[in-house]
Amino acid sequence: MFDVQTLLILIPVLPLAAALATAALGTRLLRGRSHVPVVTAIALSFVASILLVFQLQERIDERAAQPGSSRAAGVEEVVARWSWINVPDAMPHPVDGRAETPGWGNFNIEVSLRADPLTAVMLAMVTCISMLVAIYSIGYMRGDPGYWRFFAYVGLFVFSMTMLVSASNFLLLYVFWELVGLCSYLLIGFWYERPAAAAAGKKAFLVNRIGDVGFVLGIFLIWTTFGTLDFGGVFQSVGQHAGDWRVTAICLLLLLGACGKSAQFPLHVWLPDAMEGPTPVSALIHAATMVTAGVYMIARCTPLFAAAPDAQYAVALIGGITALLGAVIAITQTDLKRILAYSTISHLGYMFVALGTGTLLGITAGMFHLITHAFFKALLFLGAGSVMHAAGGVIDIRRLGGLRRRLPVTYWTFLAGCLSIVGVVPLAGFWSKDAILLSLHDRSGLFGGGLFEILYLTTLLGVVLIDFYMFRPLFLVFHGQEKIPPEAGDHLHESPGSMTAPLVVLAFGSVVVGAYFEWTHGFAHFLSFTPSFECLAQSGHAAIDTADKWRVATIGSVLTAIGIAAAAMLYLGSGKAVARLARAMNVFGLYSLSYGKFFFDPIYNVLVVWPLLSVARLAAWFDCMAIDSLVDRCGRIPKLAGAALRPAQNGLVQFYALAMVFGVLVLLGIMLM
């Protein structure tokens, strides 16, 4: 029963059905229990995606067993059930003799799903994290009037995310790209009474929309260049368009779309504001799943990026800048969720850097980091959520302190998360960070490696910064003397079982997952069978000698240890050392710059929002006073002409007679000439 096709369809359909059921029955029937359909549906999807992974693993084993064919063929299965739109030969054949893909110009969009290792991995990650977050939010959202609405939106979100990941043509990818944006808009603005939440939702949607404009332009260019929007068709014919400027333009535009969605450097301003939403939302959407959609898209389009090397440089560069930017800002933030948000931006930057290397090693490292990051970032967010839950909604780390003894489970899981994210040896974070460092080091050796040398160094600097901005909240919130904010009331105690269980599971995941994948080499091996990665395989990356691997690993660990020690020294002691460091930093104005989040929001306001609003008002005024009054004046011209002619009618018979005679004379003059 569980062949790949039914699984592939089952995974997205289950959450959709659950979401629709909750929406329909939520208010009257389910009320208190409206989480049941969605959580069960997501759980079943998770099981299905695990089965899918196993099915694909079997196929890969068969393929590997066949002699000689190695990884060339790749494993994929496309399910196309339903044609959305079909306009045959909508575009004339290319004039300037460019190569023509089969089925050129058929604007045939089908709702087609694709199952290959990359999709399977993403599906597994998305459904697993969603399940855990759903369970967590049973406790977190209890008693909220919009309880059913929350779960309906979460169900809708999981449906869109799973469809996005398994879409098989660019248009479908874009459709669910926007639907995911809609779900984030709805979930950020979940508590719509709070104007800040509503504004944050709108801001998120608009910034995404700006990114989507780039994405759409990319799709249009793909359509005009390749004549088809299907992944298969495009990736096969990329070969013939190697040097074409269009492919580079496409990749840059897709990058712009990815930046919009994954909150990269120019368009990252919406993610910190998105923290207005409930914390499970932040954990699910703004840490693990939605923001990684950009990374997934770039991974999916590797053939395109392979054909446009300077686009890969751009990806790496954007990634590097964002990583550094996120890390520097996160250090000085005071709101725990904002810190985690900026750390997410920073880690996404690392993934972009990894993908930017353009080598199979780099891409698998990026995806590996995506998986591990999903686990420990979700863990950290849920931990922050349980702290907020316990402390009555206060999340400002300066007002919390010494909660170690009151929230033991949260503390230990949060600690596990921190250790993992920082990259202490056995934990997952270490392996993925190490893989990225290795791929950077390897790539810097190859052609054009200068940029990657710098990126390798900045990543190492990043490793140190991670220790600071992760352990700072840990020490301030959980260590030191106990500071309990008044909002917490007297009952500051550990969160209920339904919230702590997912924390424990995630903690276990972020500890074990890295090691498991590293030792069994399963992850890289599994991923390398994605058909679209074949172009990388051919580019012949030599095996990495173990000496380099150990050297990179040791450098990474040493730096991490130094960082943790410095953080402990600074933050466990009294505040004097921190104040002195802050003043030292402020000499170059770095501290105020970092605390002010590099003033991107005010800059964007001044550069984009305010000018547009004033142009709008000008246009409104122009429309009323200029065009409208011009039209009214044209309407009044006949009346003015009438006013000019009225005096002629003065009632005197002889004047009329004179006019008649004059008329006759004029007529005579004309006729006799």
């Binding site: 009346k639 002409a641 009618q649 018979v653 009329y656 008329g663 006759v664 007529l667 006799l672």
Partner: protein, 555 residues
């Protein structure tokens, strides 16, 4: 006075006899309503007589072609509507002479249509204008009415003098008073004595000027607003229909038929006057408060469109079949007359003997107080504005279609296209004041409920006009076909002599023109040589008519 002539004149004779009896009877009993019924009976009788006339009778100075027949039916219809409109006297003393004069004007119009001779044409024209002077005076007995009568009289007399002077030169240039001979003399084939071409042109100008007064075209329109404002609704309706129709008949007879190829650009004058009239009428109407004054300017504007049709008739005279001005002229005249009489009839019906509805504001909120009357008025207004589902639209279609179909290869075509664009924009401006009346009726809060005691007759004619307008709007076929025959029948000179390049740079071989339909309507080709017998007969004939009319007036 052959029997045929007499038989041709039976309808007119019936009307004039009725008028005489009414004048005489009026001395004894002043019951206007009774005399109106008699007048209606007379009109009915005349109609029957006209119907039973066999069309091919060959009258000396009385032509009986399709144009005559069309205008005679038009006259009878207009007469019937006006008689029923004026059936209830607005003055204390009943003044039955009013109805008599009305009948005379109708008879005059029928005669003008049938006249084939300058003399008879002049007499018929006077037979219209003189009773009109009387009607204007008899309408109301206050200062304004007398002022309007005076103005119309003096300017009318001046215009007829100018017209006559034109006739004299026409007679002088061609040497005969019969249109057929005039046509033969001026069709370019016979060589005129040296100076006479100037006289012919002079004649054409003076005749056109004289007729422009009757039709209220721009240089001669000054009387219209003041006279309309001063008289009753019935008189205003009469003035806006009968003299205008007469003017256009004479123009059609003389300008289009009698002076054919004399001037290649004779249409230039007519076009200029048309555009001026159109624009002047529409632009001035925007300011008016008084209803009749507004409709006066509207009728001036509508004259502009009809003159445009005439100009098209002049320029593209030989365009086969489809579009030429004469057809548009007759169709447009009929629809315009129906709508205008309808509007005046409604206003007449809404008023009362002593409190007449004058200003547009009196109509405020009519939609609520008198919905039926408001509907009729709205239909008339929309038809005048030319909004599609009604008759006015078809009129405009023919006029502007004709204007566009004038050959665009020569310069004529571009002038006509420009005139069409100006005409169309004028229609948009005209829609403003027609719409204003509708807006006042439906959007304003009613100030006072109009008494609506203008008599059932007025209401009957208003409803008849509205139905006519809507009927023609829905199915314009028959009226267009009638209009088309007038054009087919107009005796015209074969323009083969002059090469007319086809419009729109069209093919040299225009599609073969439809063969003239044989409805038993033999084209009257009448050749008569001036002889003593002919002269005596016209003398006797016209003599009787003039004396009777003078006699009546002197009662």
């Amino acid at each position: 006075m052959t029997a045929a002539d007499l038989r041709l004149l039976v309808p007119e004779i019936v009307l004039i006899a009725a008028a005489v009896t009414i004048y005489l009877g009026g001395a004894f009993s002043t019951a206007r309503r009774a005399w109106s019924w008699i007048a209606a009976a007379a009109l009915l009788l005349a109609a029957v007589a006209l119907w039973s006339q066999n069309p091919s009778a060959d009258g000396g100075s009385l032509g009986c072609d399709a144009l005559a027949r069309y205008v005679q039916w038009f006259a009878l219809a207009a007469g019937a509507l006006l008689v029923s409109l004026a059936s209830r006297p607005l003055r204390f003393d009943g003044t039955p002479e009013y109805v008599g004069s009305l009948l005379l004007t109708v008879a005059g119009l029928m005669l003008v249509a049938a006249a084939e001779d300058i003399v008879l044409m002049f007499v018929a024209l006077e037979l219209i204008s003189i009773p009109t002077y009387v009607l204007l005076y008899l309408g109301r007995d206050d200062a304004e009415s007398q002022e309007s009568a005076a103005k119309y009289f003096f300017l009318g007399v001046l215009a007829s003098a100018i017209l006559l002077y034109g006739f004299s030169f026409l007679y002088g240039a061609t040497g005969s008073t019969a249109f057929s001979e005039i046509r033969a003399a001026l069709d370019g084939t016979t060589i005129l004595p040296p100076g006479f071409a100037v006289f012919a042109r002079l004649a054409m100008v003076l005749v056109f000027a004289g007729l422009c007064f009757k039709v209220a075209a721009v240089p001669f329109h000054f009387y219209a607003p003041d006279v309309y404002q001063g008289t009753t609704h019935a008189n205003a309706a009469l003035l806006s229909v009968v003299p205008k129709a007469a003017g256009f008949v004479v123009m059609a007879r003389i300008l289009v038929a009698a002076i054919p190829g004399m001037e290649p650009y004779s249409w230039g004058v007519v076009l200029a006057v048309a555009v001026l009239t159109m624009t002047f009428g529409n632009v001035m109407a925007l300011w008016q408060d008084d209803f009749r004054r507004l409709l006066a300017y509207s009728s001036i504007a509508q004259t502009g469109y009809i003159l445009l049709a005439l100009a098209v008739g002049l320029a593209a005279r030989d365009a086969p079949g489809a579009w030429n001005g004469i057809v548009a002229l007759w169709f447009y005249l009929a629809t315009y007359a129906a709508a205008t009489i309808g509007a005046f009839a409604t206003m007449e019906y809404l008023g009362r003997a002593e409190r007449r509805l004058d200003s547009v504001d009196d109509l405020a909120g009519l939609g609520r107080t008198r919905p039926a009357a408001a509907a009729v008025m709205a239909v008339c207004m929309f038809s005048l504005a030319g909004v599609p589902p009604l008759a006015g639209f078809w009129g405009k279609l023919l006029v502007f279609g004709g204007a566009l179909s004038v050959d665009t290869s020569g310069t004529a075509g571009w002038w006509f296209t420009a005139a069409a664009v100006v005409g169309v924009l004028n229609a948009a401006v005209a829609a403003a004041y027609y719409l204003r009346i509708v807006a006042v009726m439906y959007f304003r809060i009613p100030l006072a409920t109009p008494p609506a005691r203008g008599g059932r007759g007025a209401w009957m004619s208003a409803v008849a006009c509205a139905l006519l307008v809507v009927g023609i709007g829905i199915y314009p076929g028959p009226l267009m076909r009638a209009g088309n025959f007038c054009d087919q029948q107009l005796p015209r000179v074969d323009a083969g002599a002059k090469h007319h390049s086809p419009p729109f740079g069209r093919q040299k071989n225009p599609p073969p023109p439809q063969s003239a339909p044989q409805f038993g309507m033999a084209a009257t080709k009448k050749v008569s040589t001036p002889n003593a017998y002919h002269i005596r007969r016209t003398l006797v004939l016209s003599q009787t008519r003039v004396t009777t009319s003078c006699h009546i007036i002197f009662k």
